[in-house]
């Protein structure tokens, strides 16, 4: 087992690097010393049960939460305690697909998709609309969808719009938070295909969290497993079935018996 990059043979400095990242909420320790490297162009998926700290890890990297200890590097520059304009500048490198899509209810679809262009990059509304419609096309949505509001879309369409919003600014790094949660198996596969295609087209680095193993296998180059705030296994996707790790084996086979005991209460 290795906690360092080893999977896809990508060379050079890591795109994202975490060293000893810790985060607790009161007495509840959520992240307990995370060390992880994500290499440029790589797609890493973090798996783990509910409440193991996957979302907290993503939020720490994005700066939505500040770690209690440890350091986070993006493109070799430390971003752990950045705020204000410096944080906004770092976030321009990112795109994010949220679990529930997190589309802005009060804005039409095209404005949701073009939001990062208009607000983050100062692109004019007319040009942003054209680019938003083109991006909607890339995720398989017709131009007519552009003027609808998020509440008029199905769950699968909302995910596609969320994906379009994540890639519209052509970011270097894309995060996917439970991209297939709440979708039927066919739509899940459609979203997985779109994720693979979009990441490949952009040449982006992708970091995803999920507990859907079908999705994890399809979209990842490497998989890391998080349990009780620590990474218990990191390795290439092709090796996950012969990891020899009891936590990984229990998780990927969905067994109730094993070293992972489900918590009934969050705290």
């Amino acid at each position: 087992m290795s906690l360092e990059s080893s999977g896809n043979g990508a060379a050079g400095a890591p795109k994202i690097s975490l060293r000893g990242v810790k985060k607790a909420f009161g007495p509840k320790v959520v992240l307990n010393g995370i060390d992880l490297d994500v290499m440029p162009g790589e797609s890493l998926v973090i798996i783990g049960g509910s409440g193991t700290g996957k979302s907290v890890l993503l939020k720490c990297i994005l700066g939505l939460l500040e770690p209690d200890a440890g350091r986070i590097f993006i493109d070799g520059e430390e971003t752990t305690h950045l705020h204000g304009r410096e944080r906004e500048a770092v976030l321009r490198k990112f795109g994010m697909l949220f679990q529930g899509a997190a589309l802005f209810d009060s804005l039409p679809v095209w404005e949701n998709v073009g939001f990062g262009l208009i607000q983050g990059q100062g692109v004019g509304r007319r040009e942003a609309r054209e680019r938003a419609i083109a991006t909607l096309g890339a995720v398989g949505l017709a131009p007519e969808v552009a003027d609808l509001f998020p509440s008029e879309l199905s769950g699968g369409m909302q995910k596609r719009v969320g994906l379009a919003r994540a890639i519209c600014t052509r970011p270097d790094i894309i995060f996917f938070d439970e991209p297939t949660t709440g979708l039927d198996p066919i739509m899940s596969d459609v979203i997985n295909d779109l994720i693979v295609q979009c990441v490949k087209d952009l040449g982006a680095t992708a970091l995803s969290i999920t507990h859907d193993m079908a999705s994890a296998r399809k979209i990842s180059d490497r998989i890391a497993m998080l349990h009780k705030g620590q990474l218990v296994w990191v390795g290439p996707t092709a090796e996950i079935d012969r990891s020899g790790n009891a936590f990984v084996d229990q998780f990927i086979h969905g067994r109730a018996d094993g070293p992972i005991q489900m918590q009934i209460r969050a705290f």
């Binding site: 700066g63 990112f94 997190a102 802005f104 939001f115 607000q119």
Partner: protein, 256 residues
């Protein structure tokens, strides 16, 4: 010991909340004063707060003016002071009832709406999404609401003052058989510029407090639908209490 620790816990909780609100206020104010300014959003909030609150504030004002005229008449007629009714109506409306009742009605309508909207955005991760799109939620969500609330409440109250005085006029002239021109003259005769201005300054303060409480409770809401509901209730209750307390303090400053 249990009793003492309960008092200590409550006091600490109160001080913590006070500190959080103070920090939130300073942060919100600093974002109100620094670019970029989201003019489109400020305009949208102004229409929402000013234009769409007109019916409820107008109705409140007209009936308040009408009741005031009736009550004043029944009281003042006991010592033949009916001629003071127009003055009582206009001073009561412009100094107190216009801003306070208007503020309370807007707290119910706008404070609740702001808390519910921002609370829903918080629990559905829309606020986090704004941040990841390099947009400061304070600038995009909070500052436009604070600016619009502070700017629009005085305008609303000015309209409410006019409607309220008109309500008193309707009752006095058409029900109590006052002479119309005499009533209007009495209304103007003792009205001073400061009476109206003090009410408008109060309204601006109330507008700020309503928006601040709506944004604060919405922005910090947690725990799904129940959390949003609690945020909405807290926003309306805290804004209403602060309006009443502020009204006393401002009245003391203006008229003591």
């Amino acid at each position: 010991m249990g009793f003492l620790s309960a008092i200590g816990r409550t006091t600490l909780g109160f001080l913590e909340a006070l500190g959080k609100i103070t920090l939130f206020t300073f942060m919100a104010l600093s974002h109100c004063l620094r670019p970029p300014f989201y003019l489109r959003h400020i305009g949208r909030q102004m229409v929402e707060i000013g234009y769409y609150s007109l019916p409820v504030v107008g109705l409140t004002a007209v009936f308040t003016g009408m009741v005031l005229a009736l009550q004043s008449y029944s009281g003042f007629s006991r010592f033949n002071a009916e001629s003071a009714i127009a003055t009582v109506v206009v001073l009561s409306i412009t100094r107190e009832l216009g801003p306070v009742l208007g503020g309370l009605m807007v707290a119910g309508r706008i404070g609740a709406a702001m808390a519910a909207e921002l609370g829903t955005m918080r629990v559905t991760e829309q606020v986090d999404a704004l941040t990841t799109l390099s947009t400061n939620p304070f600038k995009y969500l909070v500052a436009p609401r604070l600016i619009a609330g502070t700017a629009m409440l005085p305008l609303l109250v000015l309209v409410a003052d006019i409607i309220g005085v008109f309500g008193g006029y309707l009752v006095a002239v058409y029900r109590l058989d006052f002479n119309a021109s005499t009533y209007i003259n009495s209304t103007w005769q003792y009205l001073e510029f400061m009476d109206v201005v003090s009410g408008l300054v109060k309204a601006a303060c109330f507008g700020f407090v309503i928006s601040l409480m709506g944004c604060y409770h919405g922005y910090n809401s947690r725990g799904g639908a129940q959390g949003v509901g609690a945020a909405t209730t807290n926003a309306v209750v805290s804004a209403s209490i602060m309006i009443l307390v502020l009204n006393y303090l401002l009245t003391g400053i203006f008229f003591s």
